[in-house]
């Protein structure tokens, strides 16, 4: 092998590495530096302002509430959908295609779609009113109705982002060798036992990937919330946006950004640890 061909892979990778370094690593360090300095001197002032703000704790609470409900719901739904798809004798491609349509919709558009459904004179209220179930146009998305506001955001998020978990799990299921399941059948295992003892453990790597991806993205939820709730449902990324754009306090926005990175990293490490795959369990 010539020296040139040994270098080739690195040369081919170099542009993307440089690109990421310039547009991701450098800004990341600059953001960290910005969040810890005030007028050029090291300081925690931005973090103090962040934590002292009236929307800080609501944003933390709302973000965690969303992550803790949306992610398990999506994983359960996606697991169910993927398992159902496995059993289909025909038409799998069509159903796969339909179920993944939301993947192609931007999150802001998804938020607007659900806003159109749930708002005062939206499709849902009109339909319910026509059926005589409610009196007339109902306001479900105001600061006075936090419960229904949360449900609307939850529905939009589940509708929009379950497909990505689903895709990963479908790929994972296809990787599991048929022989394991056939062996289980021969030994008389019930479908439920097969699922619990064979499918689920062998699906762990895919579940891990899906959970990390979805959780990190759920901590960054913004456009859907912004479209449906505006400022009535503060979330972390939304607060970072408001501090950056409306309040023009870049340091506080940077503090929020760092906090989100830290939370996302912690969640990733948690999954890596809890769902780690022992070598003897690998297929």
């Amino acid at each position: 092998m010539s020296a040139r061909s040994k270098l080739l892979p690195y040369l081919l990778l170099a542009p993307s590495v440089l690109f990421l370094a310039a547009l991701f690593v450098v800004p990341l360090f600059e953001t960290i530096a910005l969040s810890f300095s005030d007028n050029g001197a090291p300081s925690l002032a931005h973090y103090q302002r962040m934590a002292g703000d009236l929307n800080f704790w609501p944003a933390i609470r709302n973000t965690f509430l969303l992550v803790l409900t949306v992610v398990p719901l999506q994983v359960a739904l996606a697991l169910g959908m993927a398992s159902m798809l496995q059993k289909l004798p025909r038409g799998r491609d069509l159903i796969l295609w339909i179920w993944t349509i939301p993947l192609g919709v931007s999150d802001l558009a998804a938020g607007l779609v659900w806003l159109a459904i749930m708002q005062e004179r939206g499709y849902l209220t009109s339909a319910l009113a026509a059926l005589g179930l409610i009196d007339g146009p109902t306001q479900w998305l105001t600061y006075e109705t936090p419960g229904t506001l949360f449900v609307a955001i939850l529905l939009a998020e589940v509708w929009r982002a379950t497909a990505i978990v689903f895709i990963i799990l479908v790929a994972g299921l296809q990787l599991i060798p048929k022989e394991y399941r056939e062996a289980a059948e021969i030994f008389g295992a019930s479908p439920w036992t097969t699922f619990l003892r064979i499918t689920l453990p062998l699906l762990k790597p895919s579940l891990q990937t899906a959970l990390i991806l979805r959780t990190v993205l759920a901590f960054e939820v913004f456009a859907v919330v912004y479209a449906i709730a505006g400022r009535n449902f503060p979330v972390l990324v939304g607060e970072a946006y408001v501090w950056q754009r409306d309040n023009q306090a870049y340091g506080v926005a940077a503090a929020y950004a760092v906090l989100i990175v830290v939370i996302s990293l912690a969640a990733t490490l948690f999954y890596l640890r809890v769902l780690r795959n022992k070598s003897e369990q690998r297929p």
Partner: protein, 431 residues
């Protein structure tokens, strides 16, 4: 592979060079005019096709939202590569740029504009207290109230729509709620709504006679208590409204407060359905906020002469009248608006005139000297509203806490008081 890389490299160098030379060639004839105002596509087209039509010379009219606008002007200055020759922005946006040294003095231009009849106090605003002219006033607007005609039957007895008080407004809202079962007052308290301006230019001046100094005064406490009581008749969707024209047109709201530009569509499309009138008055008068947009020339502008010619064009009485008729911003010069204005614009014009000419009018200027702390200043007022009105906290506790934040901003920027607060030596005090 090596050859490919070389080709790519040369191609990109070529592209950059071609772009740069195209820009240079353009700069010699074009006036690049960057504005934070008249941004919606229809308005920008009116500027390009109607307002700038008679200008001798070529203008590239570009629009930008306030935050990227600010970044762009500063960045061009830092890079030493200016492409913009004229900027048009609100007083507050220009006041944030002024201390950065990016704006050229326009003292020589003022001499050429003496026949325009721009009021001295407006011209003075364009100096930011520096003694030299930083911007020339371009056009003005303000905030008004709009009501659906159906709402008029519920006006409290004895109340004149043109001289409403906040007490009347509450009684009006209550009557509408009692009769229709709906909360039909509306305020633009959404993420991009201009609600903080309502507190700074209307509520605070009307009740306390100031904006900053009496922030935590007993009058302010009474004011918030009363406003909270009024809020019982305000549509809860208000915290999602950015522009009041849509809820007005949809009938979700019958009586609304907003900037003229943000109710214009409703008035232009359905002029027969609405009436317009000044914002209510409080114990200290009828607070109102004149909004001034100005024209400034960046330092080292590539076409300063062209920019000045454009300023002369835009401040001509006939251009100012066209501007009012086309986009609903009103003249800063003495100009008689024609009788054949569209009915919607006429509705705006009459409310603006009634506001300015009200006997108890109490003009409250846009904040001056806050530089890049304008956003945080607005936040103090909006947070106070959120905590007292939406989250039911005690007015006294909230006012004391928010006063500390306000004090911090005033001391950090050393901004002296602006009207209607009494002039101060150094930072405007928060008593």
């Amino acid at each position: 592979m090596k050859m490919l890389t070389q080709i790519a490299a040369w191609a990109s160098v070529g592209c950059v060079a071609a772009l740069a030379s195209a820009q240079q060639a353009d700069a010699q004839q074009d006036v690049v005019f960057l504005s934070t105002q008249l941004r919606p596509i229809e308005e920008a087209q009116k500027v390009r096709e109607v307002i700038l039509k008679d200008f001798k010379g070529k203008v590239t009219y570009l629009v930008e939202e306030p935050s990227p606008f600010d970044v762009r002007v500063r960045a061009e200055g830092q890079a030493g590569k200016r492409t913009i020759s004229l900027v048009g922005a609100l007083h507050g946006e220009l006041s944030a740029l002024q201390p950065t040294g990016n704006l050229d003095s326009l003292d020589d231009v003022v001499a050429k504009l003496t026949d325009r009849g721009i009021p001295a106090n407006l011209m003075e605003l364009g100096k930011f207290g520096t003694g030299k002219q930083v911007y020339v006033p371009w056009m003005q607007a303000t905030y008004i109230m709009v009501a659906k005609k159906e709402a008029l039957q519920y006006l409290p007895a004895g109340a004149n729509i043109d001289t409403l008080t906040y007490g009347h407004l509450e009684a009006w809202g209550k009557a509408m709620t009692d009769k229709t079962g709906k909360r039909l007052l509306g305020f633009p308290a959404g993420p991009k709504g201009l609600m903080p301006r309502f507190f700074e230019g209307y509520l605070y001046p009307s009740f306390t006679g100031g904006v900053v100094t009496p922030f935590r005064s007993p009058e302010a406490e009474t004011m918030w208590t009363q406003f909270k009581s009024l809020w019982r008749y305000v549509n809860p969707n208000s915290t999602s409204y950015d522009f009041m024209q849509e809820p007005l047109m949809g009938g979700e709201v019958w009586v609304a407060f907003d900037h003229v530009a943000r109710v214009k569509e409703a008035l232009v499309q359905m002029p027969d359905d609405f009436v317009t009138f000044p914002a209510p008055a409080g114990p200290k008068g009828r607070g109102y906020m004149p909004v001034i947009a100005g024209l400034a020339v960046p330092k080292d502008a590539p076409n300063r002469a062209g920019a000045i010619a454009l300023i002369e064009h835009l401040t001509r009485p006939e251009t100012q009248i066209t501007t009012a008729a086309e986009v609903g911003f009103f003249p800063i010069v003495k100009a008689q608006l024609p009788a054949d204005l569209s009915p919607g614009i006429k509705l705006i014009a009459s409310a603006v005139a009634k506001t300015q000419d009200a006997k108890d009018a109490l003009p409250a200027l846009l904040p001056v000297g806050l530089a890049d702390k304008g956003g945080e200043f607005n936040k103090v007022y909006f947070d106070t509203f959120q905590r007292i009105v939406l989250r039911n906290e005690q007015p006294r506790t909230v006012l004391d806490a928010q006063a500390a934040a306000l004090k911090g901003i005033m001391e950090a920027t050393k901004a002296p008081c602006w009207a209607p607060d009494k002039p101060s030596q150094g930072a405007c005090p928060v008593n």
